[in-house]
Structures are given as structure tokens and as C-alpha cells.
Symmetry: C2
Subunit: 295 residues, 2 copies
């Protein structure tokens, strides 16, 4: 069935009744705003929006359930980057009339699956027509305990740099199926003092300089140490992007016990020391420009 | 300057440093998530997302500052519908490479103006490319005191129905410049007990049946009483849509003092009694179908 034959009310009625809810949702999708219980004063509220665009972040041939998964997983990866807990999501589906109802339902299935896996409730759903590519925009709110949030700007010279997972080659398929590192991130801030952290969405070569710049330091990378996905070169690991792995900075003293404890906790997700933060210098600036080239 | 010549970092650097902030913002746009103080436990959190799409909600010829105003004002109108206070906004601009930097900046100017007027802080800004029409998606979070929030479902038979402002003809230009009725809505719930409320985005003929359905009641409208914009017919007032005026239900006893007090408070915004809610009946169902026709 083509969307052109359905009004927005009927489309939303098809999509929304299946949404799971939870105890903090006073009023979910359907009224003017979603209404949820406010987080307590010992927590900070986190907000993030992101979108996936047909022809940019997925293609007309991408399996729609994976498109939905990716649309939800991207903002969640930013929650992981801050060691936050995502709670509520708002979804806007902007879809041309020639798409089928089945396509939209499959996308929603992917959105819901990612939401369920990470204990997030979809509390709002909007749809709009477009004479062009489909767009799925997802906004997520949640919280982080005041003493646990990690930004990009807290890195210090001499901190060691680690990345989770492996890098490169994401566009061969992993970019539609990746797992936001929320569990890993929450474990890290529970047991260690993490100075700075971010998720790698644009590639290490673009993202690490951002973390260094935000922290007012330079960096050195041991390129030989980079954890590569199968069949990938070092250059691909640096520049491909869409890895959605965590990059973080931790003091050398704090880092000592990390690899062993990590392996015990997450036997299937590698953790690799890839370099360190250093004082700003001219050498670092040259290096930085070298990386910028890969963008 | 065409966007194609700018990367996302440089585009965001052009857009974001001008954003105003306020005391509750711990970390605004630029890091992985926005971080804000959590609202207290006596309040409920409200969340709303909405979008405007080129070719649907505005045209390539619409003044971009008005496009930005409309993109921000639409979700705010939903806050008005719930008597909520909007606080934080996340903006996603999805823009084809042939648009100019000036166009994007003007859109942002409109977004910022609407945010400033209603005391909202833009805490996140994403951009994406698209091979198609521009899309601006805005998510807003805020709060409402637990005893003041108004949904669509609280209407009771015999309640009187009021609308603010005038209806019809919005597409001649008002749809780009409307004022979300937040001030009016906050005043209403401060001084009166409002049973049900919504903002009129799809037209009275589509929206009033929604409120009635949510409240499990029917409705009668005195069509002669409808407040018409200049040059509009009754049919236009019922079916044009994009009025962004408030429709609300209030008990007859509570309604008695309302018109006089309203005129004292809001001398420039008309308030009109347009009908009442009634028990569900066959007559009402016919009427409902009659309205549905106008959609």
C-alpha cells in the first residue's frame, strides 16, 4: 500500500499503538506534546537529535528495519559518548508518497527494536510528506548523574587514548547495524575516571582532533596499534567514519588496571590503547593537518 | 557562498557561536549531547518535535527568516496547547548543497528570534546534506507544573468551546509569522480550570473532532460565530488549517467570567465562544463526518 492513500492520522494510528511505554511516561504519542516525569536534581538532563537521510546515510535499497535501527542508534551513540542513559525518543518520519506503508512499518520496527534494546520509550511520532528523499529524524532525552558525565573537553596532556571495537570499513554494512556503546560507557564511568570521551562518527582522523582541540591539547597516535576491521587499511581506519566506537582519554595511573578488567567484562569487544594526549606544540599541529587531509 | 564549499564543522561554527544561553545550560551545542539542569519533581517534562519541509510547509521563495520562525514556532504552539513552558530546543537543518550560506544563516536568524521571544535556548544544532528539498526539524523540551497541564482528553459534555484569534486564510502568509499562544495559554491555566486544549494546526474541521474523540464526547459548533480572518469564508475557517490558535473546553460556570477578564488581559487577541461539547450521539457522528469531508 502506498502512503499517498493514507492520511497522517491513519498512518500514525498504524505506527503508534505498538509503542512500548514505561512508568515515567504520563502521556505518550498522540497528544500535543509527550509528558514524562522529570529527572531528579542529582542528575543532568541530556538532549540529542540526529537524522538519517536517504541518499546520504542509507540508500533506497538499504533494508528498512536497519535504517530504523541506525536512525535510533546514532543519537544513542552520543549518549554513550557522555556516559548518559537515554530514556525518551521523539521520531519524525519525512517520507515521499511513493514509499509503501510496509517500508515505513519496517523502519519503525527497527526504531522500536533499538529503543527496546536500550530501554528507551518512543514518546512522540510525527510524519510529514516530502517531494524528495526520505528523512528520519530522532531526538533523544535522558540523564547522566552529575558526577559521571564526560564531555570532550576534559582531556589532559599525558592521558592515554583508548578506542573500543575495531575501525574502518563501516560502509560495507556495519553502519546500519552497529551497537551504541552505552553499556561499555556506563561501566567505564562506574569504575574509572574518564577525562574525555566521544563517539567516532566521522572517523578517528576527524574526531580525535576535535577532542584534542576541545581539551586544548595535542595528540600522538600509534598507527600500528590501530584496531582494524577485517580487510581494512590503516588509512581506512582513520578516515572511513561511521564506526560509532568510543574514543576516550584516561590518566596513565588510572589506565593501568583497565585492560585486564575490560577483558573480563567485555570479552567480545576489543579495547585498544592507540596513543596519548600531549601538550600543544608545532609538531602536533603538523600532525593535525595531516589528519585533516583524510577528511 | 554555496554550502557545497563548507564542511559541517565550518557551517556549524558559523551558526552556533551566536546562540544565547542561560543558567540551566551546562553544555550547549558542540559536544555529543546538550546537558541541562533537570526540572524539579513538582513539574512534568514535555517533549515535542516537528519539522518544516520545503515544498510542503514553505517554498523556495519563502523568506528564510520566516521559515526559521515557523520551524521553531510550530513545536512551541504544541507547548501552548498543553500550557507548558518551552525551555530547550534542538535544531536539525537538512539542506541541499546548492543553498547559500546566507539562506541557512537567515533561517537560523528566524529560529533564534522565535527562541529568544519565548525564552528558549537552542542547545543543539545538527546539519546534514540532502539531494532534495530542505528540511528543518526542531525538537523542544520544557515543563509544565503537575497541576496545570492540559491534554486533549479532559473535555466533558456541556463544556463551552472557545478559540483564540481568527481562523482561515493562513496560507496567504500568516502561517510563516504566527505567534504561538504560550502567554495566553499560561494565563488561562493560571486563572481558570481548562478541561481540554489543543492548537489548531490542521484546521478546526479536522482538529475539533480529534479533541472530541480524545474526550469521548461529541460537539456542536455555531458556525455563524466563527471568528473569520478578513476575506475568509466559514468553510475556509473550518478547513484551511495552519491557524495555530488555541481551541479549548471549559465548564459553563468557569466560562462566565472568562470573556471580560480576557479582554482586559489581551486586548488585541479575540476570544470567541464557538460551540460546546455534547454527549456522543448519532447526530454528532453525522456532523463529524461532515467535517471530515473538509479535510
Amino acid at each position: 500500500m502506498k502512503l499517498a492513500a493514507l492520511g497522517e492520522d491513519r498512518l500514525l494510528a498504524q505506527l503508534l499503538p505498538n509503542l512500548p511505554s514505561n512508568g515515567s511516561v504520563v502521556l505518550g504519542a498522540g497528544d500535543d506534546c509527550a509528558v514524562v516525569e522529570a529527572p531528579g536534581k542529582s542528575k543532568l538532563q541530556l538532549l540529542k537529535t540526529d537524522c538519517v537521510v536517504e541518499g546520504i546515510h542509507f540508500t533506497a535499497k538499504s533494508p528498512p528495519a536497519f535504517v530504523g535501527w541506525k536512525a535510533m542508534a546514532r543519537p544513542m551513540s552520543d549518549f554513550a559518548a557522555m556516559s548518559g542513559v537515554p530514556q525518551f525518543a521523539l521520531v519524525t518520519m519525512i517520507v515521499p508518497a511513493h514509499k509503501t506503508l510496509d517500508w515505513v512499518k519496517q523502519v519503525y520496527r527497527g526504531l522500536e527494536k533499538a529503543a527496546r534494546v536500550f530501554d528507551v520509550t518512543i514518546v512522540g511520532g510525527e510524519t510529514s510528506n516530502i517531494k524528495g528523499p526520505a528523512v528520519i529524524s530522532v531526538s533523544v532525552t535522558g540523564f547522566v548523574e552529575k558526577h559521571r558525565w564526560v564531555g570532550q573537553s576534559g582531556g589532559k596532556a599525558k592521558d592515554e587514548l583508548f578506542v573500543t571495537g575495531r575501525l574502518g570499513g563501516s560502509l560495507r554494512g556495519r553502519h546500519l547495524k552497529f551497537t551504541p556503546r552505552i553499556e561499555e560507557s556506563r561501566w567505564l564511568t562506574k569504575h574509572f575516571s574518564i577525562h574525555a570521551m566521544m563517539d567516532l562518527s566521522d572517523g578517528l582522523g576527524a574526531d580525535l582532533p576535535r577532542l584534542a582541540r576541545a581539551s586544548h591539547v595535542g595528540f600522538e597516535v600509534d598507527e600500528v596499534a590501530l584496531p582494524l576491521n577485517r580487510g581494512c587499511t590503516t588509512e581506512q581506519a582513520i578516515s572511513d567514519g561511521e564506526d560509532y566506537e568510543l574514543l576516550f582519554a584516561i590518566s596513565p595511573a588510572n589506565a593501568r588496571a583497565l585492560p585486564t578488567r575490560w577483558r573480563k567484562q567485555f570479552s567480545k569487544v576489543p579495547l585498544t590503547r592507540i596513543g596519548r594526549l600531549i601538550p600543544k606544540s608545532k609538531i602536533q599541529n603538523l600532525k593535525w593537518r595531516g589528519y585533516a587531509h583524510f577528511q
